[in-house]
């Protein structure tokens, strides 16, 4: 693994995983509202990162690049999930469950559920805002102008807080 992991920028897969795995998992939790699915998506994101790492030329920041892969992975998964709403748990998922009980409190679970009720791209944007990513970077990840993004964020914040108050 370590041979292939180094890129021209000297960023290794292990470094990327250590630095971003928790953030990507939260992003996926915001998307799905479901811990097991979020774990799957995080792993799939890193598989794609692994596959794409040798091609990464550093035209974007490593975080922007990684978040974009996570976003595309999540959106691709949701499309499939809509067609096939119930995926059976596979043995490798079940094996992880006893070690991964509900990791957060009810309030956080409620927050994840509220985020997952927003439109797909709004989930991504607000998850990145909650994670305090700079607006310029979020705009790059999503592929919109910073001005448009600010308008969106303003609206999504209102939507999310009212959703949370309604269900909280």
């Amino acid at each position: 693994m370590s041979e292939r992991a180094k890129t021209v920028l000297g960023i290794s897969f292990d470094e990327l995983h250590a630095r971003y795995a928790a953030r990507i998992l939260k992003l996926c939790l915001g998307y799905t509202g479901d811990y097991a699915q979020a774990q799957d998506l995080t792993q799939e994101t890193f598989i794609r990162v692994w596959q794409q790492l040798p091609a990464f030329r550093g035209t974007a920041q490593s975080s922007t690049w990684l978040y974009r892969i996570a976003v595309n992975t999540c959106l691709n998964h949701l499309r499939q999930a809509k067609r096939r709403p119930v995926d059976p748990l596979l043995p490798q998922h079940e094996a992880q469950l006893p070690d991964a009980p509900d990791p957060t409190g009810e309030a956080v679970q409620q927050l994840y559920r509220c985020i997952s009720q927003l439109p797909e791209t709004d989930r991504l944007i607000i998850s990145l805002v909650l994670d305090e990513q700079p607006y310029a970077e979020i705009a790059q990840i999503v592929g919109v102008s910073e001005g448009t993004l600010r308008v969106k964020i303003h609206r999504i914040k209102h939507q999310l807080t009212s959703l949370y108050q309604r269900h909280g």
């Binding site: 939260k26 939790l29 892969i69 595309n72 959106l75 691709n76 596979l90 791209t121 994670d131 999503v142």
Partner: protein
């Protein structure tokens, strides 16, 4: 926006245990549409290449010897058809692999639309040409093969052959193309939805 600041704190304070990456298991379990499209092309190309190798072995390196030159020409043509089609499959695989999953939505959608347009053009030209050349080569092959058989058997073989070719064209081929088109349209429809959501404010 105090309420939102509270939500932000809640989000940031929530610890989430991260599992190590199990690449092998996930590759099997979570194949995306893109991976399925890639695999279909790669698998098809490999099978065609193996077919070509087998035919060349059979025609030129095995103990079987044919009487007519047309049979050898047919074997070469059929093999070339297979190799050509395998080359196209490998090129499509390369094109699919080149689609950048880390691109923003608009750029990502554009890549898929370009691929889709290319694939449509290719199907329009490539499939009829492939079938014509392949059947032409088989016609040459049959000159010797059917010449040895009685007329009734010739007719039976020809009916079976034509039946199989029609089945391959109208049923298997069309089904495979419909499945491929469904996957491509699924990907693009999803990206268009995302694009619409991004441009909705």
């Amino acid at each position: 926006m105090d309420e939102f600041e509270d939500l932000k704190k809640l989000w940031q304070q929530s610890p989430v245990p991260v599992a190590p990456v199990d690449t092998q298991a996930l590759r099997r379990a979570n194949a995306t549409h893109q991976q399925k499209l890639e695999r279909t092309q790669l698998r098809g190309a490999i099978l065609l290449l193996l077919t070509a190798v087998y035919l060349i072995y059979l025609g030129f390196f095995s103990r079987i010897s044919f009487q007519a030159m047309t049979t050898y020409v047919a074997i070469v043509f059929i093999s070339l058809c297979c190799i050509g089609q395998a080359g196209i499959g490998l090129y499509l695989y390369y094109r699919l692999r080149s689609i950048d999953v880390s691109a923003p939505v608009t750029a990502h959608l554009h890549q898929w639309e370009t691929y889709y347009a290319f694939r449509k053009r290719l199907i329009r030209v490539n499939m009829p040409v492939y079938y014509l050349l392949l059947n032409g080569a088989f016609a040459l092959y049959f000159i010797e093969m059917l010449g040895l058989l009685p007329i009734t058997t010739r007719l039976v073989v020809l009916v079976l052959y034509v039946g199989w070719m029609l089945f391959a064209w109208f049923v298997l081929g069309q089904r495979s193309l419909r499945r491929e088109e469904g996957r491509l349209n699924g990907i693009m429809a999803n990206l268009r939805t995302q694009q619409a959501q991004l441009g909705s404010d």
